[in-house]
């Protein structure tokens, strides 16, 4: 066999081989088959599809503090409203919100008290920006629909910027979705942040309708945009950002003392900011009637004993229990479904919300005595929790407190609902076995007072009507009173506003106070009226009262079963220490996650953008 022939044979075999396989070896074999994904064009094609993007925008932007997922327990747990009782206070319950470390002064940059977390806010903002940028592509929508959705997107974006501002101070401002390489947006000054959010609110308010059909309850209206503006301006006028010279020393520890301070506060105090705040709240009150919004006031301040139905509730309890009632300007309407199972975390959240609902595995959300004492007695006088007592339910009733106390706070021996009956927090004693709510995770402790606001009770623990009030009308009435007093002292308008809330609650009017006196009164009123509604944290910061309030020794009451002379059971009780709170001034501004600072986009030059003290 000669070489020539061999080579020819090799060549021909290779040729055949190459031909056979090159036919199969096309790129088509590796091409992605059709199916699988949807793209932005699929979503923003029809209104029906686009509504999914809108739904997700609300889901990501309108925070639900009524814990519906793994993120958090009650927002009040880092304030003086709630003390989470769980063994050793270091369990999963208190860790969820980073409460454990916060309350003892150990908040860290990697585990801050930001309820949803840094990235969640920005995901909301991106979602809103993408809706804003793409909604115009929807084919079957008219200009009115598109303008409305755009205005809602602007509002949602603004709301998330507000939450960030409330925690961190001045923040990057994003009015478009980011892509490509242009990714470096530094923190902006407090002035720019406030002005931009307000501008967005104005833009949204100009387009949004005053009312919406009842099928659209949950979508923001013009009054919602005005309410957000009012909140932001009240925050901006407050001493943390708008610091009068007389109070500068209180925040000296959280100032850099150089240009960087512009992201923390206004350079100088300006009283006119209070005027802006008062006007913004007044704008909400003025716009309210046209939107069907107002105070829920039927003249029934007290909840009927043994209430099972909405009609038995006092007006205050109704305002956060009755779905879509007139006091709700905007609510998070995500369905809270306690029967969904573990999959979406709802069950988890109900464990977090109270021991009442899940008993053994629930968390005791104790309301400390220090907070209870903020509720006045029914006659308007100051109340102090006694050192001990012989039977807690009798004693609590005899305290004769502000009706709002009895509509928010549960205690050992209280009748709750027909399936639970009387609450049993007491420890064993005198031959009586301990109650069924006695322990937390295996440790009997007898702590006997717990928050039941936003825990199902009515209609025998029916949770279907639950919503989270984002903006409730009463808040803006109190904001108006507060701002007005700061601007021009306790005027008649300020008193009217304050007393309208007190009257609805069944409390006597305030009168004859000087400016500081009115300030104390309105701040206390706000604390009680808005209790457990996630405003306390922001209020404590902006008023600069956090160092006092959040460094208290928190106490509660513990009950033990005792045999009465007639053989029946009494719930004897004593005061007991819960927790020594620790405050640090650097808490005024929540730290950015360290990883974000290390990316060096928040600050300028050598400064990584981190807040003072972190």
């Amino acid at each position: 066999m000669n070489i020539k022939k061999t080579l020819r044979n090799i060549a021909s075999v290779l040729a055949v081989f190459t031909w056979v396989f090159s036919t199969g070896c096309s790129e088509d074999f590796l091409e992605k088959p059709k199916g699988g994904d949807v793209t932005v064009d699929t979503i923003f094609n029809t209104q029906v599809q686009a509504k999914k993007a809108v739904a997700q925008m609300y889901n990501k932007c309108i925070t639900c503090y009524n814990p519906y997922n793994y993120y958090g327990g009650r927002p009040g747990s880092i304030t003086d409203e709630i003390y989470i009782m769980h063994t050793a206070n270091d369990s999963w319950a208190a860790k969820v919100n980073n409460t454990t470390s916060y309350v003892v002064g150990n908040m860290s940059a990697s585990a801050s008290c930001d309820y949803m977390g840094w990235s969640s806010h920005w995901l909301g903002i991106r979602t809103a920006n993408l809706v804003y940028e793409n909604i115009g592509k929807v084919k079957d929508a008219d200009a009115g629909y598109i303008a409305d959705v755009k205005a809602q997107a602007i509002f949602c974006r603004a709301y998330q910027h507000y939450e960030l501002f409330m925690y961190y101070g001045g923040i990057p401002l994003l009015n478009h979705s980011l892509s490509g390489n242009d990714l470096y947006y530094p923190r902006r000054s407090v002035a720019a942040t406030v002005d931009t959010i307000c501008k967005w609110c104005d833009e949204a308010a100009a387009v949004l309708p005053e009312t919406r059909p009842s099928t659209d309850f949950g979508m923001v209206t013009k009054i919602g945009a005005l309410a957000l503006k009012a909140r932001v301006l009240l925050l901006a006028a407050s001493p943390l950002y708008n610091t009068p010279d007389s109070r500068k020393s209180e925040v000296a520890n959280v100032r850099f003392g150089d240009d960087r301070d512009s992201v923390l506060c206004y350079p100088t105090y300006d009283k006119e900011r209070w005027k802006r705040a008062a006007d913004a709240s007044l704008a909400v009150m003025n716009a309210a009637p046209a939107g069907g919004i107002g105070l829920y006031d039927t003249g029934k301040p007290e909840t009927t004993n043994g209430a099972q139905n909405y009609s038995d509730l006092g007006d205050y309890e109704s305002a956060w229990n009755v779905y879509a009632n007139k006091e709700i300007i905007l609510a998070n309407t995500k369905t809270i479904n306690q029967t969904d199972g573990w999959n979406n975390g709802d069950i988890w959240s109900l464990y977090m919300s109270s021991k009442l609902y899940y008993q053994d595995w629930g968390i005791k959300n104790i309301v400390p005595n220090e907070f209870i004492q903020l509720y006045e007695k029914r006659d308007g006088s100051k109340f102090t929790v006694p050192e001990s007592g012989t039977n807690l339910p009798d004693d609590v009733m005899s305290w004769n407190l502000d009706p709002r106390f009895y509509q928010s706070i549960a205690y050992d021996g209280m009748w709750y609902c027909s399936s639970i009956g009387y609450l049993k927090y007491y420890m064993a004693g005198d031959g009586f076995a301990a109650g069924n709510l006695v322990g937390s995770d295996g440790t009997p402790n007898g702590y006997a007072v717990e928050c039941y606001k936003f825990v199902p009770r009515v209609e025998n623990k029916n949770a279907n009507h639950f919503f989270w009030p984002t903006f409730r009308y009463a808040e803006f009435v109190l904001s108006y009173a507060e701002a007005l007093n700061e601007y021009s002292g306790p005027s008649k308008e300020a008193y009217d506003a304050l007393n309208s809330i007190r009257k609805r609650a069944g409390m006597p009017d305030k009168s004859g106070l000087d400016q500081p006196g009115f300030r104390t009164a309105v701040q206390n009123e706000r604390t009680v009226e808005m209790a457990f509604e996630a405003t306390r944290y922001s209020d404590l910061m902006r008023w600069l009262t956090a160092p006092t309030v959040l460094s208290q020794q928190l106490t509660s009451v513990k009950t033990t079963a005792k045999k009465a002379a007639n053989g029946s059971m009494l719930r004897s009780w004593v005061k007991a220490n819960c927790l020594q709170r620790v405050w640090k001034d650097k808490y005024y501004y929540v730290p950015f996650p360290s990883a974000e600072c290390s990316k060096m986009y928040l600050g300028a030059g050598d400064w990584d953008g981190q807040n003072p003290g972190w």
Partner: protein, 1104 residues
Amino acid sequence: MFKNQALGKQKLYTMKKRVIFVLIIMFALSKSVIAQNISGLVVDSKDVPLEGVTVQVKGTPNKATVTDLNGKFVLSNVANAAQKTLTFSFLGYEKLEQKVSSLTNLKIVLQESSKGLEEIVVVGYGSQKKESVTAAIASVGTKELVQSPTANISNQLAGRLPGLISMQTSGRPGKDESTLYIRGLGTYNDGTQNPLIMVDGVARDSYDNIDPNEVESISILKDASATAVFGVRGANGVILITTKRGKVSAPKVSLSTSMAQTSFSNMPGFLGSYDYATKKNEGSELAFWKKNASKFDGTTGKTWTDFEAYKNEELSSGLLRWQAEGDYFYSNTALLKYKNAHNPSSEYYDPYFYPDVDWVKAIFKDHCYQSQTNMNINGGTEDMKYFISLGYLDQGGLFRTDFTTYPKDMEYTNKRYNIRGNFDFNITKDFTAAVDLGYQHQIEGGLDNGNESWLWEKRIMWSNPLSTVGMIDGKFVMPDNNTNFEQNIYSEMAGMGYSTVTESTMTSSIKLKYDLRKLIPGLSVNGRVAYDSFYRTTTGGSTPVIKYKITANPNGDVSDPIFTQMSEESTPNRYSDWYSYKWRKIYGEGSLSYNRSFGKHDVGALALYNAEKKYDPNLSPDLPHAYIGMVGRVTYGYDSKYLAEFNAGYNGSENFPVGQRFGFLPAFSAGWVASNESFFPTNDYVTYLKIRGSIGKVGNDNVTVNNVTKRYLYSPDVWTYTGSYSFGSLAEKTSYSGAQEGTVGNPNVTWETALKSNLGFEGKFFNDKLSVTYDYFNEDRTDILSYKGSVPTIVQATLPPYNLGEVKNWGYEVDATWRDKIGKVNYFVKGNLSHNKNKIIEMDEAISKGLEYQAQTGSPVYSLSLLKSDGFYNSWAELYELDADGNPILSSPVLALDAKGKSYNNAAGNPVYVKDLGVSGAVLQPGDIKIVDYNYDGVVDAKDYRRAGKTKIPEYTFGFSFGADYKGFDASFLFQGVTGVARYCSYSPFSMLRAMTSLANYTWSAERYANGERIEYPYAGGAAPYCDFFNKDASYIRLKNMEIGYRIQPSFLTKLGIESTRIYLNGTNLITWSKNSLWGDPENLGTLGYPLVKTFNLGINVNF
């Protein structure tokens, strides 16, 4: 059809005979013409002519030729031809020297070499003679594989293969496979570090459940030269599994069966009630300072005496303050009751309300059994060869389940049936076919929740000895007022129900080979089609549990409590089977191969094309997954001295956009067999010496995050349906599903590449008694497909993987074997050591200024960022000045010292005290771990974490074995171990009312410290910061395998047709030596789950 073939064969045979006949006549005729030529014929033992046999005149190396197609050779012009000796050599046959007895029609018969056959090495898409291999390959044969009585084949490799890291994390029957890494880690991406698995030449997902009795050999391909042919899938090395094939012989039957006893290799001890309660009390007292220190800071003038008075103040309840305010406190009476829980004669006997339950005994068995049986038949004729194997495995579990509703189903078990048939057909002399069929059927079951680490963490480790007595008279009892599920491990386990998973895996392949020798000698064309399928069904049952509350009997009889049923009885359920997973895969391959020798030149070439599609609904999105590849190989050898090889893979991956879809990955290698040089002195000390080296590229196209394989990385921006929101008043409330932006596309994405080089040395010494292999390797992985870590979070786009990052990986392997005999005792000693290290050179991560010591860049993969510890604070004197009584003076704290031993100031300019160096300002006391203020800023916080220390990937792995046989006896031992490894242990014995292992006996206390006793943990109830103290050294040495066997061959068995019978006793994981056994088994230290097991096994093997 067979008949025709047979006829055809016969024709061929007759033709051949005729040719030979003619040739012989020709030789005879030419006898007198050229007297100095030598000619002849070379045949094998079956008289078949052999082509390509090298024929050499001894002493005249340049006088050589090879036999032709008909086995014929002619050596012309040989001087003194009749006095010469010829040597005949051929791959796979014994070398032969023959004196020239006749100048013509010399007939030479070459015997097949058993040794030569062993030295064939399986390589990617082919096989090579071991001596001509230039790549780094290690392999293990069937003998070692069947030696370890483990169910999963991946657990039989540890310590056997240099360059292989094997880590087993669970011992659960059916889920006990090891994670394997070849030559350490080349990338920081989780999920893309595992080698490619090839079973009989086809990439396969599941190999774990192959019966080891079916396997001929397992090889690992380590360097670029060996793996380049696998292109974009070979970057992490390749494991080649070759199953057994039939050999020409009468049917040989091999039957083996064994029975093993299995128990946990390391089960920590747990504290009983009395010790438990005592420790809790100790914790409450010791932690009192931590809780109350803020009340006694020096500034308010409070003193230690004040603190002691406060702590020991007697409250109205009769308890001291620390007792009342402690998280847990057990009174003396309670302690006495716990102590006497098993002592009916004691006045403190109260076993139901003060129980002491050894729940380890309650829920685990001492041991369980495992049996394994295999029967295989092997044999055939020239035309048809077969290997058929049937295997059965039954693995029992170590959980007690006799108290549950379905004791059998609840037990963790694994049953496996294996069937394999490998057939080789010679259809014609040039046309052969191989048909391979494999089938595995596995039934795996046990307590539900599939995830035994959950069971372990959330149930077993949450059990304590004093919560409840567990069961009385078959009733699950709960303590007085507590129905918390963690209180009773019995009822919890019983209530878990069971699930049973049945999996069927079918693998099949048909390979056709046509030898084109008629067209071009040495050329053949091959084709192959393979089809694999997998199907899984699940079934299960639920068991409602009735709990009873017990209350004390008013009559005072402590052993006769009153039961109250806490829930209604309900029916247990058994579910029908449901489909839970399936996939199928089709693979096709076509190739041309060429192998021929021209004199001293050995030439080989391979061109191969393959393609596969996998249909798997679990892929996201559910679209078939495709690969295309082309393989090229050219080998050249000169005179068995100089070897060179070129391998290349040209692969396409669906992950990349058009234009970047295909990658060309070449590798070169060369070898020099020095001992074959004529100048190499012939001696008995160095009998073989080869130096080889390779360099080349291999790729990776895979990104897997949390077990989800990312696909079509180039796809444009995708949206997904997720979340929901409701609008409308209560009556009109409508829930809308949400849609959100998914992943953004990367149009420029392409494969990551590993540039690998290898330098190796192989030698045989002392008459081949000692053989040594050494390899040094270096890998540089670049363009690693990974996610950006430095993008500001405010962007919030889900960005795709980019080609970022670089990791270097290097190390060496040594492997040595000594084989010899002393008298009639044959023995061997083997050892291997592998070393690997890696370093992340580049990674897209955010690094804070001044915190470079926390970066992953510059550290090994999996290096942890931990606080730095420096032992314990052992006395108050380290924190405060002491007064005359030895008590701390709270107003005089001790200054902290920096690295230079000088005191220093914090950011505010105030001096730093030791007492302030608790983590995030936590209160310190003796018995706390001393955490170093790493950046000396006066606080211990997030900035003091640093990346250092060993990782979970061992830097050194080694195996050492020895064995001997004498007459019928044989014995062997394998020791295996790792070092340069650490694992983080987060178990805390003091977390709530959780189980306390014997670790709690080694807590810090002033007393224990003073006595110089072993201390393994901070003080009882003290903090366990995330620091290097808990990154425990996980080095170990294990008696991994031991075997003693005896072969009996009594004549009566031979009469029965039994050739040989062997009885053996072997075991695995028999003894383990490790520093931190208190923390668990070193191999899965820090992992919660079904512990690893050790096994003793007795077996018998009969051959017919």
